[in-house]
Symmetry: C2
Subunit: 348 residues, 2 copies
DNA sequence: CCGCTTCACGCAAACGATTGCGTAATGAGG
DNA sequence: CCTCATTACGCAATCGTTTGCGTGAAGCGG
């Protein structure tokens, strides 16, 4: 039933040469040490027999599997699929396969899945975490496995990271709101144990001061999750605090959608009464009314870039000195997307 | 720099036994052929040294890699991530890793990626295609690679498939609409080269006849893609045809959203003037107004089921006769989700 | 005390590809 | 005609595990 795979030995027997000769003939880098006739003869019979190299066997010998691991919190989170396609767009044409694992942001799972990847001898790992603390990936890096992190950095390590320019996004958004006459701007922050939640709040505080906004502590509320329910809850709390505001800069799109809902429940319309902004520009956002003004994160490009960096690390690891060193830090630009959820401040 | 991995040989040297003994001690199925003391001694030093089995080497010997391939058209299509989590929920606890590839529904890519999977010796493949015709996966199946298809079946083959009960979904939806007094119901069909597009249209025709609806050919229009723009276009065409209708059953959610938009552009409100229904119940749907009445496909369960079937195939392949034969056909139930886009027929 | 079985472990050959090294054969130069 | 370099390929070890088979020792019954 199970057809046996064609191996180098089969080709060698067919052509009448040694398997090592076949191996060399099939390797473009080595085939020029052989007689051209032999090479063509071998190659012809190779694909007439339908030969496919066994990467398992090659991997055992060479310690390279042409497989990389990608660790993400949860593939059903809409921000990750574009990242994965970006990674794939770089790696797949080079013959790499990617093993994707979902950590659910649980340390125990992360450890287990890291082993799943290492046991399979992946050539490198792209780690798109959201938690601020997860030490186990550093172990892998210390053991010599090429690692790149995405969306966050590991402090005090030499692990290259690719992040988005969150601060530029916050700045652009605040400038946009100020341009519309808003002065009292609230921040609906994300969970502070997540890197984006923390980074964006820090950026908000910094830029708000820079731009000389009235920074009232009551205007900063934290959500405990990045979802609509928490957005609604936080917006309601914000109103209950009694602090005046005419706009809310939310740490992500889902919080913003929930906030708009919460405001509506209290009789406040967006954008007529309050302007609300999101972050990420997730898919399907343009179908939801009011169409959200947000900061577009280039997820696809982030994936591409992370893959590029990883390739450089792998090249360095294998001694293939290409000259191009892997950059420790890559900060990707973000883009302001102005839609319908922001309007001129009614109070001004 | 690169820390050498601990191998069986290292453990053997440490304990003072042969590597084969170590191999057996570490295999729960074989460890009872050894002296208990030796087994514990070996296991203790194994994890004191931090031993991790090299699956590459084991795979070369055993032809099992504990890795499965998953082929999908496009991970950024929101229906696939839940499927993948479903697959993972079954396979990951058993120690399997999954290599996910995106075919973009291109035959050439599919062929290439199939080789990527086979070269890495995957133990099985789950193939979640949408195209009606893609022969290359059958080659793999014929070569003895366990294959399960999801969302579609390959005719005239022994390849097990897992599909959703599209017909029950269409029937439930039509009965719902009829219950609301609708009689002239249009069908906005999906692309007919895609399995769901074709299956749902066939079901619509069959059930409409069953339920004695006025089946006007002008009431069936086909979209060339599953997106909002085509939904809008098709709805506009439907109106232009002059055929009367009070409801539209759409072949998927995105078409329905586009259709509602197209109707609105012509001054027709949903559900006041026309009821519109979707299919799939994709994520974020409940955030879009009007909240769409739709048929929920259990994507997660579909993934789980496909993985279960694949495991049975793999068990059969390896001679591990567990008694449970892999079913050729699995039809999963669907669920009617009634929201706000359907209302009592105004004409009745 | 001998011969048998049983037990517990070692030996070595796979698995398929890669690669350093060895070595025939060829050619050229003196 | 001999020497030596070069070319073109073969030999065999290697990667880490698995596994059929062999074997020494222990145990046991007669």
């Amino acid at each position: 039933m199970v057809k046996k795979r064609v191996t180098l030995k089969d080709i060698a027997a067919e052509v009448g040469v040694h398997v090592s000769t076949v191996s060399r003939a099939l390797d473009p880098a080595l085939s020029d040490t052989l007689t051209p006739e032999v090479v063509t003869k071998i190659r012809d019979t190779a694909d007439s027999l339908g030969y496919r190299p066994n990467r398992i066997a090659a991997g055992l010998r060479t310690n390279r599997t042409m497989t990389v691991g990608v660790m993400i919190p949860d593939i059903t989170n809409v921000i990750f699929p574009p990242i994965l396609r970006g990674i794939e767009s770089v790696l797949e044409p080079l013959g790499y396969a990617t093993i994707i694992v979902n950590t659910d942001s649980e340390a125990e799972r992360e450890n287990r899945l890291l082993n799943v990847l290492r046991d399979r001898g992946v050539d490198g790992i792209i780690h798109a975490a959201v938690l601020l603390s997860d030490p186990c990936i550093t172990h892998a890096a210390e053991d010599g496995v090429p690692v790149v992190t995405l969306n966050r950095m590991v402090e005090n390590s030499r692990i290259p990271y690719v992040i988005n320019d969150e601060e530029a996004g916050v700045r652009g958004m605040l400038q946009h709101l100020i341009g519309l006459g808003h002065r009292r701007i609230a921040h609906l922050a994300g969970p502070q144990h997540l890197s984006t939640g923390q980074l964006r709040q820090a950026a908000f505080r910094k830029v708000a001061e820079e731009l000389a906004l009235d920074l009232d502590e009551r205007l900063i509320v934290e959500a405990s999750r990045f979802d609509e329910a928490e957005g609604r809850r936080a917006a309601t709390d914000l109103l209950a605090s009694g602090a005046r505001f005419t706009a809310i800069l939310c740490a992500n799109d889902r919080l913003a959608l929930g906030a708009i809902d919460g405001l509506a429940a209290q009789g406040l319309a967006c954008p007529a009464d309050v302007s609300v902004t999101g972050f990420n520009d997730m898919s399907f956002l343009e179908l939801i009314r009011p169409r959200l003004t947000t900061v577009r994160i280039q997820q696809y490009d982030a994936g591409r870039t992370a893959a590029d960096v990883l390739l450089k690390l792998i090249a360095a690891e294998t001694g293939t000195e290409t000259g191009a060193e892997a950059p420790l830090e890559t900060i990707l630009p973000v883009e302001l997307v102005i839609r319908d959820s922001t309007a001129r401040c009614a109070d001004s």
